[in-house]
Symmetry: C2
């Protein structure tokens, strides 16, 4: 299932990943981090309860048989300069960003040397990097900081800010179908039409094994909003709470095993199940 | 605003239309029904409280100055044979279907002579026909009877049955952004790929003034899901609760004044506001 020779291993998880039963997504991260050779850093800084979050993931990766685990319990920016963390990072094979508040995570980690090292290592394929919920949102450069639901797409439905920019040219939203976030993702891409919107359901992730290509792993779906052929919008003419018009968006709903190429804007279907082939 | 010479006047309303202030949608229906010459039939049969619903709309159309109003309070199928209703229908200029339960509405009206007359009159442009919420759902031939939300698109998320078939080749969903119904509309079109999905927000409607073309009126948006170029789905290979894959759907988010042509699958932008032109 894992391919140790892959260049990158970045997992953007839609939140509420299974922590008890099959643990498919966490196991995928763990395998990409080297399985029994894994040396994992857990960063619970998004959370207001970092100790609880850190312990929770530590136990899981211990049970999986990690070689070493360290919780990077950064609650103030200058804690990121702790030499022990930098030392652990040298032999680290996987970094996991927990859920919480993406603004908090960003304010603690952005532009720190530690984060620069993590981003570089992830891009170079030296570590597997995973983020769930807030840890997923922060992966993009243009980040959804928050917003509402239950309304027609409109500018005031989404708060945009800057993220850590691990994967460029995308806007991530999480808990996607679960929390009625289509309208807010549409509102986001209306103002960043160069970005591909990626809505990730709970217990579902996008696994980037190459710079611009990902595969879906997990129980739910990943909704792609491709604005590259958008022919019309009123986004820059209307007031903040007026409903938006957006013509000619392409969307793809991807499920387990499907892939997507961000460069060509093309989805690729999962290899067909031989059993279902017989049935059809 | 109204064009009395138009061929058809069918309003599919996403529910919760303004009944107090501007009443834009109800006024649009009323104008299309002939304004002060309007003779309106209200059918509250979808509702479990038909008397309350009927009275409510009766007061509104009275205030607007209708020439005649009659509540078709059909609670049993054979009540639709009442000659008084058929007599009223002869000079009727507008029929309004209230909200409630679309299955109830369907079971009371489907295949009755009364409904056949209403459908024919609407198609011939002799009456304005409006339906809100349940009254909107029932307009399509393949009708969403109910379903869930908060899940990835999957077959069990939507219950499909037969509607009154006023407007063919569409599947209507209402309270759309308001109640997180994107996933269920996607689930519906996955199994009826010849149909265009139309998700209508509250206090918003699609006004058909020609057989295959509508304009958006109201406060929210109308989301079009065009499956005509869908390149892949696993819909017929997976189990009822497995997440669906749907590649290459086109979506358009339309707001007030925008139009859509169901034949060409093309959206048309609202004429531009001269003020916003100056600003841009």
């Amino acid at each position: 299932m894992t391919s140790p020779q892959t260049k990158t291993s970045i997992l953007i998880i839609g939140g509420a990943e299974d922590k008890v039963h099959g643990r498919e997504i966490l196991q995928t991260f763990f395998n990409h981090a080297g399985s029994s050779d894994a040396q994992v850093a857990i960063i619970p800084s998004a959370s207001r309860e970092p100790a609880i979050q850190g312990d929770r993931y530590q136990k899981i990766f211990e049970e999986m048989g990690a070689k070493a685990i360290r919780i990077f319990d950064i609650r103030e920016r200058d804690q990121s300069e702790n030499p022990e963390l930098h030392s652990f990072l040298e032999d680290c094979t996987g970094v996991f960003l927990t859920g919480g508040d993406q603004l908090r995570l960003y304010s603690l980690l952005a532009d720190t040397t530690l984060m620069d090292k993590i981003r570089l290592a992830a891009r170079q394929g030296k570590i597997a990097l995973a983020g769930t919920s807030a840890g997923a949102a922060v992966m993009s450069h243009n980040m959804i900081a928050g917003g509402g639901s239950g309304e027609s797409p409109n500018r005031s439905l989404v708060d945009m800010t800057t993220g850590l920019g691990i994967v460029p040219d995308i806007i991530v939203d999480q808990h996607f179908c679960n929390r009625n976030r289509m309208a807010r993702l549409l509102s986001a891409v209306a103002y960043y039409p160069g970005c591909t919107g990626i809505g990730i359901d709970e217990d579902t992730c996008t696994l980037f094994e190459a710079e611009k290509r990902f595969r879906v792993v997990g129980k739910g779906s990943v909704t792609i909003v491709d604005t590259s052929r958008m022919s019309h919008t009123n986004a820059h003419e209307v007031g903040a709470t007026d409903p938006l018009s957006l013509f000619n968006l392409k969307i793809h709903v991807l499920s387990h095993g499907d892939s997507y190429n961000l460069r060509s804007h093309r989805p690729i279907a999962a290899p067909r199940n031989p059993l279902s082939k017989e049935l059809s």
